[in-house]
């Protein structure tokens, strides 16, 4: 198996006026392609912060991060943005949609940022995604007109529309009922099975966590 994530964080510090909080001290993460990793731990230990770093949203930490063989510190901000667009997909809670856009526009949002000559997108890919996720009837609706489950599926669709090699999933089922929770988790694993997509999930749900290949318990730094 190929090692696609090689992360070595010495320290991540949050500063707030006179106080500062240090998390993820001497944290190491190695992930192979197609691997499913669950990250659990109590609130405030740095689960979401870890996803921010892995997902190239946060570069303000001490340590080294090699993604797909490239040292991310050497990548320009526009390259990081391009990688977020094409290599990494975010599956978040159902509220993470732009309310002024329709569900279809929300799902197609990553397509705006596909640069010329880069990864191409076919209309049938979109059709395949919406059929698989069963959200065709709500495409023209605005998020506020949809149920929690429908919105969660829309967020999921947006996260996978570019067929990313890594899906970062942050509490995707936190506010969903049992049926919709099952549905989203199944969709996530289906991506892994069909496309060998690497899955990293932050969750409080141990049942969901135990379905992953590896469960990492984050603990508060001493």
């Amino acid at each position: 198996m190929t090692n696609i994530i090689d992360l070595n964080i010495r320290e991540k510090v949050y500063k707030k006026k006179k106080t500062q909080l240090s998390i993820l001290n001497n944290f190491k993460l190695e992930v192979n392609a197609g691997e499913k990793i669950a990250i659990v731990g109590e609130s405030g230990v740095g689960k979401s912060s870890l996803l921010n770093i892995v997902g190239l949203l946060d570069t303000d930490y001490s340590g080294e991060y090699t993604l797909f063989g490239s040292l991310t510190a050497n990548l320009h901000a526009s390259e990081l943005a391009q990688w977020r667009n094409q290599k990494v997909g975010f599956v978040l809670q159902e509220s993470v949609l732009i309310n002024s856009l329709t569900i279809e526009e929300n799902i197609k949002l990553p397509l705006f940022y596909v640069g010329s000559g880069k990864k191409t997108f076919k209309l049938e890919d979109f059709e395949n995604v919406i059929n698989a996720i069963e959200i065709k009837p709500i495409l023209k609706k605005k998020p506020l007109e949809c149920s929690g489950g429908e919105k969660a599926r829309a967020v999921f669709a947006r996260g996978i529309i570019m067929k990313p090699q890594i899906i970062l999933s942050d509490e995707p089922t936190a506010s969903l009922d049992v049926e919709n929770r099952k549905r989203i988790v199944n969709l996530l694993f289906k991506m892994n099975e069909e496309f060998n997509t690497t899955i990293i999930t932050v969750t409080h749900d141990l049942e969901v966590a135990n379905r992953h290949d590896k469960v990492i318990h984050l603990e508060r730094s001493k």
Binding site: L57, S78, A81, Q82, V96, I98, L101, Y113, V114, E171
Partner: protein, 407 residues
């Protein structure tokens, strides 16, 4: 372009505070800068114009504010006596305008006659676009034609060489006037005591007056001519005597001020208020800019989730910066267009109202000072825009774009 269009239509325009709010604030800032820039430039032009009077021994008449004009008490004989005294003892620049005459023209404007003597004409050095300068040594009632200059607006109806037979308002007799030259477009005269205020000569007739002309003119011309008469190469004592002669013959007290005294007056009253106005404008601009920054930051809070989602799926800060600059550029451009339209309409309104003394010719109706003020607005927009956008971006970057912000 696609991303920019998306941000404009789907995000920015959906937030009233970021579209209408920003537009109104920018409009307030732009209009304030525009009017102040125009006022300052116009005053500067007046200042330059009035400089010609700034010579040793030059005194300008000014009717004492406490004098009551009783027209019935003033007789033509009295004014003529004053002119006789002037002719015998002084060199003086005579000018009076605003005498409306019915002179048919293509634009159907009421035509204003301006009368000036040779000294005044020499002092002002009016620029001509066609023809030759006025000559003042014609013989009244003997020469068949009196040479005149016309404004650009009259040059089509009355080109150089053409003659006009008209009852001259101040002579109450019919005369033949011959067009000798055409004044340069937008030739103007500034008010001595309100330098930003201008009278434009595009629909004026300049009629040269000499001693003989004044003798034959009615009391209106004679009296009006004394109001701002400029005495040249004289002394304070001599003009004091003149003031007494005027008091004796007209019953009006005239003060004579040197240009230095006029400047002091200008500095004390007008320049001072101009300074206050400029400071108030500057304060207003700072306040409006602060309000715009505040408005932008409030907008950012409202749109932060939308920005963050876009950053998640591939937007970069550099692209966001370009989007902001383009958006603000469009807002400023629309503002400039609105100010341009308001100004053009105001200039054109003078034509509609047939307001001959304010009618001007310009590029798309705007004259030089308007374009200059628009340029100042444009430059200040660049500065205001950069301040707001850089503060906005700094604020956005300060808020960690993370999943936490979204959830």
């Amino acid at each position: 372009m696609k991303i920019f269009k998306f941000f404009i239509t789907k995000i920015f325009l959906r937030k009233m505070i970021f579209s209408i709010g920003m537009f109104l604030l920018f409009f307030m800032a732009n209009y304030t800068i525009f009017t102040t820039a125009r006022l300052i430039l116009s005053t500067f032009q007046g200042y330059q114009e009035i400089k010609i009077m700034d010579q040793e021994g030059t005194y300008i008449a000014n009717l004492d504010p406490d004098s009551n004009i009783d027209m019935d008490a003033i007789v033509e004989n009295g004014t003529q006596k004053v002119y006789d005294y002037l002719n015998n003892n002084f060199k003086y620049a005579f000018y009076t305008d605003g005498f409306i005459a019915s002179l048919p023209n293509n634009d159907d404007m009421e035509i204003s006659f301006s009368y000036m003597n040779e000294e005044y004409y020499k002092l002002n050095q009016f620029e001509l676009s066609q023809g030759t300068d006025l000559n003042f040594d014609y013989q009244f009632n003997k020469d068949k034609e009196i040479p005149i200059l016309v404004g650009k607006g009259l040059s089509k109806t009355y080109p150089v060489g053409s003659t006009i037979k008209i009852e001259v308002p101040v002579l109450e007799q019919s005369m033949t006037l011959k067009v000798q030259g055409v004044l340069k477009q937008n030739a103007y005269h500034s008010n001595f005591y309100a330098l930003n205020s201008k009278t434009y000569y595009n629909f004026s007739v300049f009629l040269p007056v000499n001693q003989e002309f004044i003798e034959h003119a009615n009391i209106d011309l004679q009296l009006n001519g004394l109001m701002d008469i400029v005495i040249l190469q004289t002394t304070k004592e001599k003009v004091a005597n003149l003031s007494e002669i005027m008091q004796d013959n007209l019953g009006l007290k005239f003060n004579f001020f040197s240009q230095k005294e006029n400047y002091d007056y200008f500095n004390e009253y007008y320049l001072h208020s101009l300074k206050i106005m400029s400071i108030i404008t500057l304060i207003l601009i700072v306040i409006i800019t602060c309000l715009s920054v505040w408005n932008a930051l409030v907008s950012i809070r409202l749109i932060l989730k939308d920005f963050t989602i876009n950053l998640l799926v591939g937007l970069s800060y550099s692209k966001l910066k370009k989007i902001f600059y383009s958006y603000f550029g469009i807002l400023f451009f629309i503002n400039l267009i609105v100010i341009f339209l308001i100004t053009a309409y105001s200039r054109y309104g003078n034509w509609l109202r047939k307001d001959a003394t304010f009618v001007t010719y310009g590029f798309f109706a705007l004259i030089g000072m308007d374009w200059f003020a628009l340029l100042v607005v444009f430059l200040s927009d660049i500065i205001i825009g950069m301040i707001i956008i850089e503060i906005m971006l700094r604020k956005i970057k300060k808020i960690p774009i993370s999943l936490g912000v979204l959830q």
